[in-house]
């Protein structure tokens, strides 16, 4: 597939997944409305909306705190800032995102913020100390692609959706378990409702994770297109894969943000034994991401990574 086709295919799949989220939410709320009272279902939906909006508004500062990203003056990281400017221009972003530094030896990066104008890119000091310019640019382009594709927005939404669904399903489950008001219907209805409430959060989780994996492929393709250099992105991923340090601030709640998953390295390694576990990864296996780039760009990565000087060392940033 060409990059354009990949981007289109990924967009379509993302739309389907978001649609699935809305459907799931309506289903759970509908189930509550059916088993108990219609108005209760409506109240649940309204409550979900309020909680969702609050979570969305708070998300930007929350992410910065959870990942330990520090604001830095643009002049202090001028060369890095320039790279971000360049990839933003290549992406056609109206505003260059701010750069924040995460003091962490593991090479990784993420993008956050609901709107492109208010977004920032978090970069670990480890990334600056490992990546040569060409590959660092690819990683930054990957993050800028997330911002341009509104992934940061979509993934925050997905997180909120998943949280809300889990919350409502939990309430529904408890209400039945502790014998709430039952509007008739037989035992069968109750059992169906119980199973529904039990499974809904897992369905939401799977949806969220599959969405996250889609967006990673999409951002890889976008970065390759922006720089006109799919090999740079593939090289960067290979370098991330070979590096074995992991992010200190790794948490399940923010794992989906990073360019390389900080938590599921172990999972992807045992995927041969337990193939199902890959369903619970936030990121596709790096190997699959590299092959997608190789297919699109028609090249094969050399076994040996280039020995160029890391960008952060070259420009004395770390």
């Amino acid at each position: 597939m060409t990059l354009q086709q990949q981007i289109r295919a990924n967009r379509l799949k993302s739309t389907i997944v978001v649609f699935g989220f809305v459907l799931l939410l309506l289903l759970v709320a509908g189930l509550i409305g059916f088993v108990f009272d219609l108005s209760l279902g409506v109240v649940a939906l309204a409550g979900a909306a309020v909680y969702g909006i609050f979570a969305l508004v708070r998300s930007r500062s929350m992410v910065a705190r959870l990942t330990g990203a520090q604001e830095v003056a643009p002049d202090a990281v001028r060369p890095l800032r320039r790279l971000v400017e360049n990839v933003s221009i290549a992406a056609g972003l109206p505003v260059t995102p701010e750069v924040r530094i995460v003091d962490d030896a593991a090479p990784n990066a993420y993008a956050a913020g609901l709107r492109p104008e208010k977004s920032y890119i978090g970069v670990t000091t480890g990334l600056l100390a490992t990546m040569p310019q060409r590959e660092l640019e690819a990683v930054l382009a990957h993050e800028v692609a997330h911002i341009r594709n509104r992934d940061t927005y979509l993934m925050t939404m997905a997180l909120v959706f998943a949280g809300v669904i889990a919350l409502i399903a939990d309430i529904g489950f408890r209400s039945i378990a502790y014998g709430g008001r039952n509007r008739g219907g037989g035992v069968l209805v109750l059992v169906v409702a119980l199973v529904g409430f039990l499974l809904a959060p897992y369905a939401a989780l799977l949806l969220r994770l599959s969405l996250s994996r889609r967006r990673e492929f999409l951002a890889d393709a976008g970065a390759a297109e922006m720089l006109n250099d799919p090999e740079a992105m593939a090289l960067a991923l290979r370098r991330l894969e070979r590096d074995s340090t992991t992010v200190k601030y790794a948490e399940a709640s923010t794992a989906h943000l990073w360019v390389e998953s900080p938590t599921d390295r172990v999972d992807s390694q045992r995927s041969g034994v337990l193939a199902l576990s890959s369903l619970f990864n936030t990121h596709p296996a790096i190997g699959a991401r590299i092959s997608a780039l190789e297919d699109a760009g028609g090249f094969g990565l050399p076994e040996q990574l280039p020995f160029d000087e890391p960008f952060g060392i070259e420009h004395q940033l770390v």
Partner: protein
């Protein structure tokens, strides 16, 4: 009666497609315009750096008039370029001229060490990087827009509606990789 409804239905579907398609072309055209504005800003920035650069070099090498004239001419050509194609040509011309200027500067160690010169050199490199980034974006938007305009059925009506295919930002015989100007180390 049934036929009338079918006719209305078909017309409604056609109208819907027309509206969606038209809006898409408008959006694509706006993207091209934004892309061009991005290049224009950087070209302007590059042109603005030139007088300062020429003055700085002149302070050390006043007799190298030929080079100064070439650079100034190339800058004027860039500022007068009206279309993406001519602008790309003029930009190439300026790259060649600046390359010559830097080659001249090689012979003056004091100039090469001057703070001002180093800063200008860095700014120029940065602007060149940004021009090439803006160009990648612009050319992508042009390609999307042109594909939209040239595909059926828009091909038939695009031109009367004011959607004319746009020009790429590329000089003649240009490749994706910018050419390095004759043997000078411009960095």
């Amino acid at each position: 009666m049934l036929w009338l409804w079918i006719l209305i239905g078909v017309l409604a579907v056609v109208a819907l497609f027309a509206v969606v398609g038209y809006n898409r072309l408008v959006r694509l055209r706006n993207e091209v315009d934004t892309g061009w504005a991005n290049i224009d800003v950087q070209l302007q920035r590059r042109a603005d750096l030139i007088p300062n650069l020429v003055e700085t070099v002149r302070a050390y090498a006043a007799h190298e008039r030929g080079v100064f004239e070439q650079v100034t001419r190339a800058r004027t050509a860039l500022q007068q370029a009206g279309t993406p194609g001519t602008a790309a040509e003029a930009n190439e011309g300026l790259t060649v001229a600046i390359g010559r200027l830097f080659a001249v500067a090689e012979a003056y160690p004091d100039l090469k060490a001057s703070e001002n010169f180093l800063q200008l050199q860095e700014d120029l490199t940065d602007t060149e990087d940004k021009i090439s980034a803006a160009r990648r974006y612009y050319n992508t938007t042009v390609m999307r827009f042109n594909t939209g305009v040239q595909s059926f059925p828009w091909l038939l009506v695009a031109s009367p509606l004011g959607f004319d295919a746009r020009e790429f930002f590329s000089a003649r015989g240009d490749t994706a990789v910018p050419q390095v100007s004759f043997g000078t180390d411009a960095t």
